[in-house]
């Protein structure tokens, strides 16, 4: 594979999966701090 394609593969994974992990992390952090915003019925 070309080096620039490999770099974009890493960039793509970092941006998208990093973004998703960050959002899930925030949700997890808040649920730990305050309890789930939408508790199970």
């Amino acid at each position: 594979m070309k080096t620039e394609a490999i770099i974009m593969l890493i960039v793509g994974f970092s941006l998208l999966y990093g973004g998703l992990a960050w959002c899930i992390g925030i949700a997890w952090f808040h649920s730990r701090q305050t309890g789930s915003k939408t508790p199970e019925k």
Binding site: M8, L16, G19, K37, T38, E40
Partner: protein, 499 residues
């Protein structure tokens, strides 16, 4: 008024929204669009579009559903009464899209059953193409030549409708259980396809085609429009589904982060699917000595012609990987299809006060019957034209009006204040700018540009009579039925204060 059903918890709600957003387009559209628009460089406009249009639109739809606890016509009607017409337009778009979406699922059922013979019918591109157009679709010579309803398509369509009817009829708890399979399983199956693809000789050729950045393309505004189009059309916004799903959550539900998780999940899957698609296509290109540019396709051409043909050339386990691929397509499509059915079913329940079973059955039977012309030899023409007109005009118009209604009438500041009460990520002036100016401008330009192109040459070179009758006919039906549903008041409308 009967108490509204609710999702069991926030995770199930997000999973339902992700299942709805991730559909066939993630597998057969994103990889091609990315490769055609700068390869790896496309990630820049794509991320920009995700942050400045995708997530804000998702927040709007979640917000409208949660604050009103009702379907799209109630959600928009509570902002201004006449806007309930736009809500009905959105719901009717879901109805019409599902009519042809289930036909595509019907094709996938057929291909799944034909996968034991994939080595024969997918032996080369010509054989694969002949199999798709002749053996499966029985394509006629034009949109007005229906010939007959073909049994394979009829049964495929019927099975699709029975499956999604049964899922939706089971209620939110039943849907929640189905989602535990239909959402994670395609990810696992795509990972298996990816691992298989990466271990094939030539996969690097495909991945280079997909990922090598062409930075010069970033100065071309078409690339940016393609990125916004891809984000917009793949997130299931604009046809009331996210409003309906959000309406089944309590009013204190967190919004912006939920919207971000849904949107990022959708994009993550697209990126992964691109790797699975292009690694196998790269192998195929090397094996058949055909340039990548010639086999790189989007839509049904990729899913039902090129990719199966590439799988047919695998050294071992051809049938296994063929079946795996079509199961993936079915799983991707089923949760999008039942979310569309739920949108219409929930709206009818909200409007007429009928039970879920009744509204689901009425919608499914009507949609199945309306989809029968798509099971004829002219079906593919009708499907293509309907899809183009609904996506390019109706859905886009709904999304523009949603942005303007929330941004200017409800007030972006008021909406943000409401949302921020329970938000894990606060929204502010940037969100306001996006929904008041940026997104409506980009979507508006896209509609105008499509219309101008349409005036210069009929869509895809179809006969103008067909484009006019099928395309504009579909839009006219949406407007007329929407107007009737808007103007006929019901007890529920009065209770909701939207008439």
């Amino acid at each position: 008024m009967a108490e509204r059903e609710h999702w069991k918890n926030r995770s199930i709600f997000i999973m339902a929204a992700v299942g709805s957003a991730i559909g066939l387009g993630n597998m057969w559209r994103f990889p091609y669009i990315a490769a055609q628009n700068g390869g790896g460089a496309f990630l820049i406009p794509y991320m920009t579009a995700l942050l400045t249009a995708g997530i804000p639109l998702m927040i709007i739809e979640y917000g409208l559903g949660i604050r009103t606890q009702g379907s799209a016509h109630i959600a928009l009607g509570k902002i201004r009464k006449p806007l309930r017409f736009i809500g009905w337009m959105a719901i009717l778009c879901a109805l019409f899209i599902n009519i042809y979406y289930c036909m595509v699922l019907g094709w996938a059922w057929h291909f799944l059953l034909a996968s034991p013979d994939i080595a024969a019918w997918g032996a080369d591109l010509a054989a694969s193409k002949a199999h798709f157009y002749t053996d499966v679709l029985h394509v006629s010579d034009g949109p007005w030549n229906f010939e007959a309803i073909h049994p394979n398509l009829f049964w495929g369509l019927l099975i699709s409708w029975v499956v999604i009817w049964a899922i939706i009829r089971s209620g939110l708890s039943g849907i929640g259980k189905v989602l535990l399979f239909t959402v994670p399983l395609p990810v696992i199956l795509v990972l298996i396809l990816l691992v298989r693809g990466l271990t094939l000789e030539g996969s690097a050729t495909g991945l280079n085609h997909y990922l090598t950045p062409d930075w010069a393309r970033l100065t071309d505004y078409h690339v940016w429009l393609a990125a916004y189009g891809q984000i917009f059309f793949s997130l299931s916004v604009g046809f009331g589904t996210m409003i309906a799903y959000a309406s089944f959550m309590p009013k204190d539900t967190e919004l912006p982060n939920s919207a971000a998780i849904t949107s990022f999940s959708n994009c993550c899957f697209s990126f992964l699917a691109g790797l699975a698609v292009f690694s196998v296509l790269g192998y195929f290109a090397v094996a058949t000595n055909v340039p990548m540019a010639e086999i790189s396709q989007a839509g049904p051409g990729l899913a039902f012609i090129v990719y199966p043909s590439a799988l047919a050339r695998l050294p071992v386990y051809v049938t296994f990987f063929g079946a795996l691929f079509f199961i993936t397509l079915l799983l991707l499509g089923i949760d999008s299809a039942f979310s569309l059915l739920e949108t219409v079913s929930a709206a009818l329940s909200d409007k007429f006060g009928i039970t879920r079973t009744m509204s689901t059955t009425i919608t499914a039977v009507f949609s199945f019957l309306a989809g029968l012309p798509l099971a004829t030899g002219a079906g593919i023409y009708w499907l293509d034209i309907m899809d183009h007109f609904i996506m390019a005009y109706a859905i886009t118009t709904v999304a523009i009006v949603e942005c303007l209604a929330v941004g200017w009438i409800l007030g972006a500041k008021n909406f943000a204040a409401e949302v921020n009460r329970t938000a894990e990520i606060k929204i502010g002036p940037i969100f306001s700018f996006i929904i008041r100016f940026l997104t409506p401008a980009i979507l508006g330009y896209s509609v105008i540009r499509t219309f101008v192109d349409e005036m210069q040459a009929p869509y895809e070179g179809y006969p103008p009579s067909a484009v006019f009758a099928i395309g504009l006919g579909t839009l006219a039906l949406i407007v007329i039925i929407g107007a009737v549903l808007t103007l006929v008041p019901t007890k529920s409308d009065r209770e909701n204060g939207i008439v």
